[in-house]
């Protein structure tokens, strides 16, 4: 094991980590919003909305992310009218293509997770909210949504981890995030283990932070389920 090479590769991979974090945060935040919208449309009883969402989720979950990335980055540029359009400035950039692919992918998985959460909200809660006069958006914002998110969080946490790992695929379309940098170091020095250990540790650290964040949100959302804090120490 070459410890000097390992030390040398730390700053390089660290500089790639900025892109990784950017890819993760951008695609996860946009994907979360879109997933909620998709889950709500999927639960609406309008076939014209339900069928496209179903098809979308089916295709996105049934094909590898790499195919989706290549299709967006290489595939769409095949058409002349795309290259003439105003979207071309976005679609020719590998970074935005990666963001689009990752977002579309996590939207599909996330919408199913959130749909599961929405379905777990018991009707009694809705009735109780109606009884005190809540309806429409207020009912959704204060009652249905928080309960659904709390139910969905553990599964959504897994999706977050998968997304952190999925950002590594951006390296296949020339983006120099952590895996891209590590791959270059491996190929240049022909010493794969050192770069792998450094990059792998960063990914593990990032995933550890992500799981902790999810746990924190889960804890914050379930305050009413915890036993009340006693103001004075119980007499033993």
């Amino acid at each position: 094991m070459d410890f000097d090479l390992m030390l040398d590769s730390i700053p390089q991979i660290l500089s790639g980590s900025r892109l990784t974090v950017l890819l993760v945060t951008l695609s996860l935040s946009m994907g979360f919003v879109l997933a909620i919208i998709a889950a709500l449309l999927r639960r609406s009883k309008i076939p014209l909305l339900v069928t496209p969402i179903k098809a979308y989720v089916f295709v996105m979950r049934g094909t590898p992310l790499l195919v989706q990335i290549f299709l967006i980055y290489y595939g769409i540029g095949q058409f002349e009218f795309v290259r003439q359009s105003i979207f071309w400035s976005i679609l020719k950039s590998p970074f935005w293509c990666a963001i689009i692919a990752l977002t579309l992918n996590t939207t599909a998985y996330g919408s199913e997770i959130i749909r599961g959460g929405l379905e777990s909200v018991s009707w009694g809660e809705v009735e109780a909210a109606r009884a005190v006069g809540m309806s429409g958006f207020l009912l959704f914002r204060r009652i249905i949504f928080p309960i659904a998110i709390r139910q969905a969080l553990p599964a959504y946490g897994n999706e977050v981890i998968l997304m952190v790992k999925a950002t590594s695929l951006a390296s296949t379309i020339t983006i120099m995030e952590m895996t891209g940098v590590a791959n270059t170091i491996m190929a240049e020095n022909y010493r794969p283990l050192e770069a792998f250990i450094v990059a792998g540790s960063f990914y593990l650290l990032l995933n550890f932070i992500m799981t902790r964040l999810i746990q924190l949100i889960e804890w914050r959302l379930s305050g009413h389920l915890r036993p009340p804090k006693l103001s004075s120490a119980p007499a033993l």
Binding site: G62, F70, Q78, F79, K165, A187
Partner: protein, 219 residues
């Protein structure tokens, strides 16, 4: 494309079969009495599930030859051994999938009531007989949905092996897209092939699940 599809399937099947073995050993190890073994396999499942698949494929592809030759030197062989893209890909995917299957099997094994194992011991079954007659039939049934997911992810992960130059669906599509200048057509074709494989196999797993739960009453 047909040969490439066959290659994708071969990689996925080989990796999944190896992962079944890893998963069985891993689950047994994680449920063992020995703390040291548990720690080793905890480390394995954490790393294999927390590090990107692509990184593991790169490691085994670039580092596979070195590692195999190092092992061979211990046994007295000093020649050059090359690890090809196929074995590196199968090794990588089975290591990753094995970690997920370890968790699936562990969860399924924990779902079996302890009383059954005590009862088997009480009627004098040996550990092996207990494993074969009591654990395996029930664990397999409980693990089937999880195994189905593992198979689907193994199938989709094979696309990543294309970075090593192995000619499977994704690589073939890449080459065809390059030479024909029609990337959209060929990546769409690749997507359709994957969609066909995943749909077909999830149907198979659903059938297998209903077969395995015949005679089991559900609420």
């Amino acid at each position: 494309m047909a040969m490439a599809t066959l290659m994708t399937l071969t990689v996925a099947v080989c990796a999944f079969a190896l992962a079944l073995i890893i998963g069985t050993i891993g689950a047994t190890a994680k449920l063992s009495r020995f703390r040291f073994i548990r720690i080793i396999f905890d480390f394995y499942t954490t790393v294999a599930r927390g590090v990107p698949e692509l990184l593991i494929i790169y490691l085994l592809f670039f580092g596979g030859s070195g590692a195999v030759m190092y092992l061979a030197r211990i046994f007295g062989y000093h020649g050059y051994i090359e690890v090809n893209a196929f074995s590196a890909g199968v090794a990588a995917i089975s290591l990753i999938n094995g970690a997920y299957q370890t968790e699936v099997f562990r969860g399924a094994a924990l779902a079996i009531p302890k009383g059954q194992i005590e009862a088997a011991h009480a009627v004098g079954m040996s550990d092996w007989l207990l494993f074969r007659r009591i654990l395996v039939p029930q664990v397999l049934r409980l693990a089937l949905p999880g195994l189905g997911n593992c198979w689907l992810s193994a199938l989709k992960e094979t696309a990543l092996v294309s970075v090593t130059g192995l000619v499977e669906i994704m690589r073939q599509a890449y080459v065809a897209a390059g030479s024909s200048q029609m990337p959209f057509i060929f990546y769409t074709l690749a997507a359709c092939l994957f969609l066909f494989l995943t749909t077909f196999s999830s149907y198979g797993f659903r059938r297998a699940e209903s077969w395995a739960s015949r005679g089991v009453r559900s609420a």
